[in-house]
Symmetry: C2
Subunit: 183 residues, 2 copies
């Protein structure tokens, strides 16, 4: 069995929770993993078919009248594949962070404008924080546990930390700029 494609990883992973259709998988991704692992229809549907062909998932027809619907569940090979993958140490870590790049390059702007790059990055973090808090608000008290909730907490706490860091750094940069001016 050859390597799982990135999209196969989320799909199989999500199907460990319960069987879902492609449409539902997409919805679930958008509500939960999207902050660290995205997937689009253009990837999900073709991948589901490949996975079925490979014998890792099995589709079941669940049409409602004339509206098509296929839910997929893991086969025993599929379950085994997910567990095997989960046990491997993680490899992929890709980040493309424009806010960070702008902070990195801020010296190309006049001193008075540099701190703003940090405040922009702070705001980016605060916006993310708001989204994550909204997600959390939709989770009933008794469900606030388990792995999925843990990652949400990581998202929230790391955003808070990052926003505070940016704020601090911005103040520093700003006071440097004004003190140098005063001289």
């Amino acid at each position: 069995m050859r390597n799982l494609s990135p999209t196969a990883k989320v799909i199989l992973g999500i199907l460990t929770l319960r069987p879902r259709s492609g449409y539902e998988i997409k919805q679930f991704v958008d509500r939960s993993t999207r902050f660290f692992w995205t997937a689009s229809y253009g990837q999900i549907y073709p991948e589901l078919r490949r996975l079925e062909e490979a014998g890792l998932v099995e589709g079941a027809d669940e049409a409602t009248g004339d509206r098509a619907r296929t839910t997929y569940q893991l086969t025993s090979n599929g379950k085994q594949a997910v567990r095997a993958w989960l046990r491997e140490p993680p490899e992929t870590y890709e980040l493309r962070h424009e806010g960070m790049l702008k902070v990195f390059l801020a010296d190309a702007l006049p001193p008075s404008e540099r701190a703003q790059r940090l405040l922009d990055m702070r705001d980016q973090n605060l916006a993310k924080l708001e989204q994550l808090r909204a997600v959390e608000a939709g989770i009933p008290e008794e469900s606030r546990k388990g792995s999925t909730y843990l990652t949400l907490r990581f998202g929230i706490e790391s955003s808070e930390w990052a926003a505070a860091w940016c704020e601090r750094a911005a103040r520093q940069v700003d006071s440097d700029a004004t003190s140098r001016k005063r001289k």
Copy 2:
């Protein structure tokens, strides 16, 4: 002037520091921005030509004997384009984090194995931390300032924070697992 491609952003940004050849740009990316913005030869060389065609950079022949070498510098249009871009609020923020996905899905494994996903993620952070510390070690005392150094500090401090968070969470998860067993 149409939108800057992702690779154009790093290239133009790096050229604000000083003129460089494609080869040097790649080296610089690998030593500095790679943690939040990558670029490969397959993107850099074609993009440099597109940017020259668009009048944002200008190449100068600096061959050494028979060895070709073209260094590029920003044109005034180019400088203007970078500054304009830097002033826009950042948009791109893409993360693909396998460690996080595995933590998210850890409940698919038996309780005794769940904490390991968090320890793996901690180790990923510690590995990154080590790389960043090595980068820092190569920077002379008097150069430890400015925007570029600031982002390095962010990388270091956020990795430390994340590693500590994972460690804490792993202990929590582990004690949950063993206490539930004891019952």
